[in-house]
C-alpha cells in the first residue's frame, strides 16, 4: 500500500513538473518568434528540448496507464477468487434464498466495474491532488494576481463535488441494484421459460423485461445526469477562471505591466490547472460505479458463514462413528420461526435412520446440519462424542456422501460426473457402482454409453436416472456417512427395490441417514424418526411406530398390498 501511495505521488509530481517545463518552453519560443528576438540556433535548441519533454510526457502516461491497469487486473483476480472461496465456505444454506443472478452480476459486471475505479478513477485522483499543486506554485511565483484568481475558484470545486457526490452515491447504488435485479429477473425467466410457455405467459414477459430494463435505464440516466452535472460545474468554473485570467492578463499586457512571455506561459498553464479536475468530473461516474460495485462485493464477502465452527480435529480410524444430536434447534436468519427445535437422538454406527414427516417439517434442514453446511443455532451435534463444530469441516465433508432431492449434474459426460466422486476409480469400479445403482441397463440404451454428454443440470436424463447417477456416485465415494434426501423420489417400485438393496449394502460399511416419503424405504431403516413441525414426534423401530401418519400409510399398504407387490411403495409422511 505504501508502494502504491508513493508511486501515485511520483506520477502526480512528475506529470506536474513536465507540464510546467513544457509550458515554459512553448512560451519562450512563441515569445521570441512573436517579438522577433530569437536567433535560429536558440530556437532550435528549445524546440529540441520541447521534443524531449513531449516524449517524456508520453512515456509517463504510457507507464502509468499500464501499471494502473495491471494493478487493477491483479486486484480483480484476487477479489473473484475470494468471492468463490467465500461462497464455497459459507455453504448452500447461506445462499439459498438469494438470487443467483444477482450474485453472478456482482462477480462478473461488478468486478469489471472495479477496473474503471482502480485504473481510471484512482490515478486521476492522484493527478488531481498533485498536478494543480505544482502548477499553482509555478503560477504563484510567476504572477500573484492570476494565482489569486485560481485561489478564488479552487474552494468552490470541493464544495460542489461533495454536494453532488452525496446524492450521486445513493443514485449509483440504486443503479447497481437495478442492474442486479435485471440480471436475476432474466435468469429466472430464462430458466422457467418452458413453464411460462405452458401458461401462455412467455410473450408477456417481454413486457416485464422491458419494464425492468426501462427502470435500469432510468436509474442509469439519473446517475449520469448527476455525473454530467458535476462535470458541467467543473467545466464552467474552469472556463470562467480561464476567461478571467485571460482578460486580467490581457489588460495588464495592454498597460505593459506584464511580460508577453509570462502572459503566454500563464495562458498555457491555466487550462492544465483545471484539466485534472475536469477529467475527474468526467470519470466521476466510473468512480461511483466502482465504489457501488465494491460496496456490493464487500456485502457478499462480509456475509457470515452459517457454519461458524473453525475446528481442526479429525477422528481417528475409518469410521463410521456413533452420531448424537443433543437438543438441536435451528432458526434461519431471515425467518423468526425456528425450523428445528429440541431434536434429540443418537444413532450407533452402521445403522440406517429414516426421517419421515409431513411436507415442510424441517427434514432437509436437519440433513443440512448433519452435512455441516451450518451449525445448529441451539444444541449440539456430536460425532464419536466430538462436537461437529470442533471437527475440521473440510475433513468432515470427505466423510459424508450426499444424494440431494434434485442431484446436480455437471456439464460433461456421465463418466466425468462419476469420476468426480472418486477420481481414482478404474473401469471395473465404475461398472460395479453403475450396477449397484441399477444404471447399467439404462446406459446400454445410449449409443455413447458412459461418454454421453449431459447438458446443464443434466437435462437429457430423466428424474429417476439422475437420482440413480447420484446413487452411483455415493457408491464410488464409499464414505462412512451417507445422507440421502428422498433417494427414491422419481423411482418406480422395481427400481426402488434395487435401491433398498443398495442401502442394505451401504449399511455394512456406513451409517445411513435418509429422508423419505416411501413406506418401503422407511421399513428398511433400523430406526424411524417422525419429524413434525421441526420437532421429534416419535422415534422407534419401523415395526413399533404408533404415530398416526405412519399407521395410516401402513394400513393403506396392507389394504392395497394384495396386488403385484405394490404394497411396499405406499407413501408416508
Amino acid at each position: 500500500m505504501r508502494h502504491l501511495a508513493s508511486a501515485v505521488a511520483a506520477l502526480g509530481l512528475t506529470t506536474g513538473v513536465l507540464i510546467v517545463l513544457e509550458a515554459g518552453l512553448i512560451a519562450q519560443i512563441v515569445a521570441r518568434v512573436y517579438l522577433g528576438q530569437g536567433s535560429d540556433s536558440a530556437l532550435t535548441a528549445r524546440l529540441i528540448a520541447l521534443w524531449g519533454v513531449v516524449m517524456l510526457r508520453a512515456l509517463v502516461a504510457g507507464v502509468a496507464e499500464t501499471l494502473s491497469l495491471n494493478l487493477s487486473t491483479t486486484v480483480q483476480s484476487v477479489i473473484r477468487q475470494r468471492l468463490l472461496t467465500h461462497v464455497l465456505e459459507a455453504g448452500p444454506l447461506a445462499w439459498n434464498h438469494e438470487h443467483a443472478g444477482d450474485l453472478i452480476n456482482t462477480v462478473i459486471t461488478g468486478v469489471d466495474h472495479l477496473e474503471m475505479f482502480l485504473a481510471r478513477y484512482l490515478p486521476q485522483i492522484a493527478l488531481t491532488a498533485f498536478v494543480p499543486l505544482v502548477i499553482g506554485i509555478q503560477v504563484a511565483s510567476t504572477d500573484w494576481i492570476s494565482a489569486g484568481l485560481l485561489l478564488i475558484t479552487l474552494p468552490l470545486i470541493p464544495v460542489f463535488m461533495t454536494l453532488i457526490g452525496r446524492r450521486a452515491k445513493t443514485v449509483t447504488d440504486r443503479r447497481f441494484a437495478h442492474l442486479g435485479r435485471l440480471g436475476a429477473h432474466f435468469l429466472d425467466v430464462v430458466q422457467g421459460l418452458e413453464t411460462l410457455k405452458l401458461f401462455g405467459q412467455s410473450q408477456r414477459q417481454a413486457k416485464a423485461i422491458a419494464d425492468a430494463a426501462e427502470t435500469f435505464r432510468t436509474s442509469t440516466m439519473a446517475s449520469l445526469r448527476l455525473a454530467f452535472m458535476s462535470g458541467m460545474v467543473l467545466e464552467l468554473l474552469a472556463s470562467l477562471s480561464m476567461a478571467m485570467i485571460a482578460v486580467a492578463v490581457g489588460i495588464r499586457l495592454l498597460g505593459g505591466h506584464i511580460a508577453f512571455e509570462r502572459a503566454v506561459f500563464l495562458l498555457i498553464l491555466v487550462p492544465d490547472f483545471y484539466a485534472p479536475w475536469r477529467a475527474l468530473g468526467a470519470k466521476f461516474h466510473d468512480g461511483l460505479n466502482g465504489l457501488s460495485a465494491s460496496r456490493t462485493i464487500y456485502t457478499w464477502l462480509d456475509r457470515p458463514s452459517l457454519a461458524r465452527g473453525q475446528g481442526h480435529r479429525r477422528l481417528s480410524g475409518r469410521g463410521p462413528w456413533p452420531l448424537t444430536l443433543c437438543d438441536v434447534g435451528f432458526t434461519y436468519p431471515e425467518y423468526p420461526a425456528p425450523a428445528l427445535q429440541g431434536v434429540h437422538f443418537s444413532l450407533p454406527a452402521r445403522r440406517v435412520l429414516a426421517i419421515i414427516g409431513p411436507s415442510g417439517s424441517g427434514k432437509s434442514t436437519l440433513l443440512a446440519l448433519l452435512l455441516g453446511f451450518s451449525d445448529p443455532t441451539r444444541g449440539e451435534i456430536t460425532v464419536d462424542s466430538v462436537p461437529l463444530a470442533q471437527l475440521d469441516r473440510q475433513w468432515w465433508r470427505t466423510q459424508v456422501a450426499f444424494i440431494g432431492q434434485s442431484p446436480y449434474l455437471f456439464f460433461g459426460t456421465i463418466a466425468d460426473n462419476l469420476r468426480m466422486a472418486n477420481p481414482d476409480a478404474d473401469a471395473d469400479r465404475i461398472a460395479w457402482a453403475l450396477e449397484k445403482a441399477h444404471l447399467d441397463d439404462t446406459l446400454k440404451r445410449f449409443p455413447h454409453g458412459l461418454n454421453t454428454v449431459i447438458g446443464e443440470n443434466g437435462v437429457r436424463l430423466s428424474g429417476g436416472e439422475r437420482q440413480r447417477l447420484a446413487l452411483a456416485r455415493a457408491f464410488l465415494q464409499a464414505r462412512p456417512f451417507v445422507v440421502m434426501d428422498e433417494p427414491s423420489a422419481h423411482l418406480d417400485s422395481r427400481t426402488e427395490q434395487a435401491l433398498l438393496e443398495g442401502i442394505g449394502q451401504l449399511k455394512q460399511q456406513s451409517t445411513v441417514v435418509l429422508v423419505t416419503h416411501r413406506l418401503a424405504s422407511a421399513r428398511v431403516a433400523d430406526r424411524v424418526l417422525v419429524l413434525v413441525n421441526g420437532a421429534v414426534a416419535e422415534l422407534g423401530s419401523p415395526d413399533h411406530l404408533t404415530h398416526p401418519f405412519y399407521r395410516q400409510a401402513r394400513a393403506f399398504a396392507e389394504r392395497e398390498g394384495t396386488g403385484e407387490g405394490g404394497g411396499s411403495d405406499a407413501l408416508l409422511g
Binding site: H99, D188, Q191, F260, L491
Partner: protein, 556 residues
Amino acid sequence: MRSWVERLIPYKWWAIVGLTLGMLTIAANLGLTSTAAYLIAKAAQHPSTILLLWVPIVGVRAFGTARGVLRYGDRYFSHDVTFRLLKDLRVRLYQALEPLPPDIFRRYPSGDLLARFGADIETLQNAYLGLLSPLLIAIGGIALASGMGWMLSSAIGGVLLVSLSAAGLWLPWHMARVTQGAGRQLVIGRAQLTARWVDWIYGLADILTLDQDASAVRWHEAFQAHWRTLSRRINRLKGWIAACNEGLQHGIAWLVLWVAVRLATSHHLPGLDVVVAVFLALASFEAIRPLAGAFSMRAEIAEATARVEHLVQSTVLDEPAAIWRPDPRPPRIEVAQLWFRYTSQEPWVFQGANLTLLPGEPTVLLGESGSGKSSLIALLVRFYRPQSGQLLYDGHPWPHIADFDLLRNVGVVNQHPHLFATTLRQNLLLARPGASEEDLWSALDGVQLADGVHKLPQGLDTVIGDHGSTLSGGQQKRLALARVWLKDAPVWLLDEPTEGLDIPLARVVMAAVLRHAAGKTLLWVSHDHSYRGLVDRVMELADGCFVDPHHQGTGG
C-alpha cells in the same frame, strides 16, 4: 456495426442532436483557446484603445460558458440514445429467445444467456458511446481545426489535417488489430466464467459433498491466470495507446509550432498568428482524444455484438399455418404409431406407441424411471416433435393447431416445475392473470396449501426465493398443482404431482384435483400406487409402447 446504425434509426433525431452538440463542444473549445491566445497577442501589440479587445474578451467568456453547457448536452443526448438502444436490445434478445423450441434453446446454458443479456450488452454501450459517436465527432472536429488552421496558413491547416487524421484514425485502428484476438477471448472467457458460476451456485451442495470445491478453485485459478495474461496483453496495448495519445497531442502542437516558427522567421506568417496557431494545435487534440481508447475496445465490442446478434437473428423453422382452432371442450387425445427419440445419438423413446385419452376418464401412466413418461408430456405440449406417427386432438393432427391455441387448452405440472423468485401471488397469477383473491385461495385450498399460507405473516405476498427455495419439495409441487388448478384447462397433464407428499395428504390432494377436473381429459404420471381407488384406468409405458398392465398381468 451495421446493425448498430440500423438500430439507431428510430432515435436518429436524438442522435443527430447529440452529435451536433458534440461538434459544437469541440468548436467552443477551439474558439475559447484561440480567442484567448488572440486576446493576449493583440494586447501585447498595445492597441490604441481597449475597445479593440472587447470582442475577444466577450468571445472568451461566451465560448467558455458554451463549452460547459454544450458538453453537458452532448453527453446527455448521446448517453440517452445509447441506453435506449441497450434497453431495446435486451428486449429483442428475449423476444428472439422466446419462440425457440426447447431443444435449440437448451443448447445455451442459462449462465451463457445471462452473460449475453448482462455483461455483453453492457460492453455494447461502448459501440455507440465509445466508437461511433466519437468517430463522427472527430471527423467534424478534424475538419474544423484544419479549417481554422487553413485560415492562418495553408501549411498549418495541412499539417493539422494530416497529423490529426493519422493520429486519430489510422493509429488506433492499427493498434486495435494487434490485440483483436485477446479482446475476443476476454469476452468468450467472461461467458465461460458466468456459466461456471451458475453451475457452482446451483450445485453448491453437490460440489461440497463431492469434494469438487478444490477443483472448482483450481479451475478458477487456471482461468484467472489465463485471464490475467490476456488482460496484461491488452493493458500493454492500452499503455501504448495512452503514451501515443499523450505524445501525439503534444507532438502535434510541437509540429505546428515548428512549422509556424519556420514560416514566421521567413516572414510568411505574422507573429500574432504563431501564438494563435500553437493554441489551436493544443486544443485541437480534444477532438480525437477518445478514439484511441475506443478502438482498443473494438475487438470486445465486435465479439459481444456477434454473441448478441447471433441470438437476435436466430430464426425459428417455419411452421405450417394452423388450420384448426380447438374449442374449450375437453378433447379426445390419440397417440398413434408414435416414434420418437431426442437425437439420432440417443435411443428410441417411443417405438410405435398407441394411446387414447378420453374426456372424463382420468388415466394413470406408470412406467420405469426413464421409460419416457415425461417425454410423452413434452411431445403433447409440442416442446419436441415426433420422428413419425401422429398425435391427434379430437381427430385433428397436432401440426394443424397453433402453439398458442394448443397451450391455452393444456395445464401441465412438470416433473421439475419452475417456481419464480417472486411472491406466491405472482406465481399463481401466472396461470390466470385476472384471478380474484377468492380463486387463488380456493386453488390453494384444493391442494391443501391454504392453511400454511394463512399462517405466513405476509400471506400471498410472501416471496418464495430463487426457484421457490424457501418451500419444501412437497410444497413446491403443490404450488405448481395450484397453478394448473387455476388455469382449469380442458386437458390436464400431471407429471408426478404428489412427489414429496405423504400418503394421506397425497390422496386428499389428488381426490380434490380429480373432483375439480371432473369431465376433463387428464393424464397422471405416477411412480407409486397412491392412485388406487381414485383412478380406474391405468396404463404402463414399457419398451417404448403403452400396455394395459392388467391385460399383461393376467397374460404373463
